[in-house]
Structure formats: structure tokens, C-alpha cells
Amino acid sequence: MSLWEYANPQKFMQLSRWVLPFVAAASVLCLVIGLAWGFFWTPDDYKQGSTVKIFYLHVPAAMMAINAWVMMLVTSLVWLIRRHHVSALAAKAAAPVGLTFTLIALATGALWGQPMWGTWWAWDPRLTSFLILALFYLGYIALWQAVDDPDTAADLTSVLCIVGSVFALLSRYAVNFWNQGLHQGASLSLDKKENVADVFWYPALVCIAGFVLLFISLVLLRTRTEIRSRRLGALLARERMG
């Protein structure tokens, strides 16, 4: 049996009904454990004090914000090439989730920046490119909303997603060129001298797992809703035709 069979809406609905509760439960479990661990049972950093605790939200959210866009890119390509409707609807379902994660990364970053850099917002390349990512999400969602016909909307947003991805990479590069910035490098180090100590790292891993699972369960749930609403639209249109 090929993987594509799950792109059949019925197969997808059956499978996801079965899988969703487990993923959701796992995600709640990971998030509760990871965040509680990080919040209550890790020490303060010697330089950053208690603000390291923001790390457990900030980093997973930032990672998932990017990964959600990547997932949308892949599903958009699948829709354009293989015309699997579930794929297009999954992209649609993922966008608000990705936007929320982007906003979380920005908000926690801003709250972190105030004590660390003395300002809520700085035009640092990372922050800037995340702001631009948020704009891409907004445009993508607005385009879905603006088009009535579902297949047309899926096609247009897929084209936008692909073109947008190229430009998002370009912008990232351009922004780096424009300002070298205050923010941490891509290395996972809170402290320039050494890698993040294990005490910070283990709960962070659990949190990352929690965010990944949360993303999956939300996308599954929302895709199920989108499929239903697609069928609802078709039925209503048929009813109107009489």
C-alpha cells in the first residue's frame, strides 16, 4: 500500500481519528513535563538569571514556526503535482498554527530582549526575518480567505507558498547582510564559552518534542475540520442548486 492512500480523504479521516487522541495526549504530557521541569526545577543562569526559563518557550516556538512553513511548502508541492486535496487542506490548516508559533517566538523574544538588551524590539536580523515570516503567514492566510472557490484558493496559495519560500530565504540573507545583529548565533549556546549545560538542555528537548507533537495534533484536528467544511460547502452548493 502506498503512502498516497492516506491522501484519500476517507482513509485520512479514519486514520486521523485513531491517531489524534494519542498524539494530543502525548503533546500535553510532554509540554506539561518539559515546561514544569524547566520552570520549577532548573537553576538560574549565572549571567541571564531567571530569564533562561523563557528559553523553553522561545526556542521550540521559533523552530516550529520555521518548520510549519516548510511543511506547508511540501504539502503545497504535493497538491500542485499530485492534486491530493488532503494535502492542500493540511497546508491551509497549518498556516494559523505556524503564525501562532511565530507570534510566540516574537513575543517571548521581545520580553526577553527587554531585560537582556534593554529594548523590546531591535532590528536584529533574526528578529527581522521572523517579522517578515509573520507577514508571509498573514498574506498566505489572507489569500486563502479572499478566494471563494476552494480549488482555486488551493492553487493560488500553493503558488504563493512556493514563490514566498524563495523570497523568504532571500530576505533572510538580505537581512543578515543589512545588519550583523545582537542575537545569538545559530549554535545552540546561551553562553558564548560553552554549549548549553545539560541542565538546561534536557527539559528543552522535552519541550521541543511537546511543541512538535502539539503542532501535529493541531494540524490533524484542523485538517479534519477543513475536510468536513469542504464537504459541507459542496453539499450546501448542491442544495442551493435545487
Binding site: I132, L143, A146, V159, G164, F167, Y173, A174, F177
Partner: protein, 218 residues
């Protein structure tokens, strides 16, 4: 194809002077910003490259909004799609016509506005060069946005939302060229990147735009 170019330019000229109006908007931005920011000339000199580029970008954007919308509303887009010229070509031509009536005049008038904003002497040359290289990219990217939103009511603002993030790299490199030029620094790197963006989008985006139009019409 040439007929299309001629028609589009003629329409732009006839439509109540659509020709001069992109310029006018550019001019107004250059006038309004000092009014808003205040008359301090050292401050203005510092922000001049950025403001001029942002102004050019907004002027482009504003005139872009109806690139395909007018043709859609009066039915000529349907007819153009069924006509014996490849839609990719038609899109490219329309973007070219848009550049000729906005980007090009904008480039030519920019030095005058530089004076209004106290742009340092060394910056003028680079201002013109960067606009000449960068505005075609604005037109082509804009045509893509216009193609995505053709047929949507009040597409105008949605268009801005879709297009502006796509304009970011062009804006950054363009303004960077002018800033560096004005400060007497080397401009080769951002200039090369700007040229690369223009070449890249001109070669590839018309295909995406044509696809978007076909999708929107059905």
C-alpha cells in the same frame, strides 16, 4: 506582443495622465516625510536613501494595483488568454509596460527628490543606478502579486500585503547601495545582488504569474 506594449503604454498615457502620477506620488512622499519628521537637515540626509527607496517602492505598488484588474473587469483578460500569444509573454510585456511608465520615470526624477531630502553629493549617482537596476524587479514582482489577486474584489490592499514582503530583498539591497554610495563605501556587493534579483525574477516569475492568472480566470 509589441501591440500589447503599445496599447498598455497608450492606455497609461491616456488614463488621465497615469504616466505622471506615479511620479507625483513619489514626489509627495518625498515632501511629506520632511513635513512629518521635521526640518533637521542632518537627520534628513541620514534617512534620505531609505526614504527614497521606500517612496519608489510605494509609488510602484500604488500604480500596480490595476495592472490586470482593469483588463479583468472589462473582459479583455478573458480574450487575451484565448488569444494566440503566450500568456507568459503577455505578463512579461505588461510588467515591462508598467516599468516604462513608472519605474523608469521614477529613476529619472529621483535625483531631484534627493535634493529635497538632503541626500549627500556622493549618493546621487548610486541612487540612479540602484533604481535603474532595482525597479524592474519591483514591476515584475508586482505583476505576480497582481496576477494572484486579479478578480478579487478590493484586491488592492490584499495585493499590498502579498507583495510588500516580496519586495524586502530588493529594498534592502537597493537602499544599501545608496547608503554605501553616499558614505563613499564600496557598493559592488549589494549592486551585484540587486542585479541578480532583477535577472532572476524577470526570468522566472512571469511563469508563476501566468499560472496564477489561468487559475484565477477559470
Amino acid at each position: 506582443m509589441i501591440a500589447l506594449l503599445v496599447r498598455d503604454m497608450r492606455l497609461a498615457m491616456r488614463a488621465g495622465g497615469g504616466f505622471g502620477l506615479g511620479l507625483a506620488f513619489f514626489l509627495l512622499v518625498a515632501v511629506l516625510v520632511p513635513l512629518g519628521v521635521g526640518p533637521n537637515s542632518a537627520l534628513l540626509a541620514k534617512i534620505a536613501p531609505g526614504i527614497l527607496w521606500v517612496g519608489a517602492l510605494l509609488a510602484c505598488l500604488l500604480s500596480l494595483d490595476r495592472l490586470f484588474a482593469l483588463d479583468f473587469e472589462d473582459g479583455s483578460l478573458d480574450l487575451l488568454v484565448t488569444a494566440p500569444i503566450p500568456l507568459e509573454g503577455a505578463v512579461a510585456i505588461k510588467a515591462l509596460a508598467h516599468w516604462l511608465v513608472t519605474g523608469l520615470p521614477l529613476t529619472l526624477i529621483a535625483p531631484v527628490l534627493g535634493v529635497l531630502l538632503n541626500l549627500p553629493e556622493a549618493g546621487y549617482f548610486w541612487l540612479v543606478v540602484s533604481l535603474a537596476l532595482g525597479t524592474p524587479a519591483l514591476s515584475v514582482i508586482g505583476a505576480f502579486g497582481a496576477a494572484l489577486t486579479v478578480g478579487l474584489k478590493r484586491g488592492g490592499l490584499l495585493l499590498s500585503l502579498l507583495v510588500l514582503p516580496l519586495y524586502v530583498p530588493t529594498l534592502i539591497f537597493g537602499a544599501e547601495v545608496v547608503k554605501r554610495g553616499a558614505d563613499g563605501m564600496a557598493t559592488a556587493t549589494p549592486l551585484a545582488l540587486l542585479a541578480a534579483i532583477t535577472a532572476g525574477v524577470a526570468a522566472l516569475l512571469p511563469f508563476a504569474s501566468a499560472a496564477a492568472i489561468r487559475i484565477n480566470l477559470r
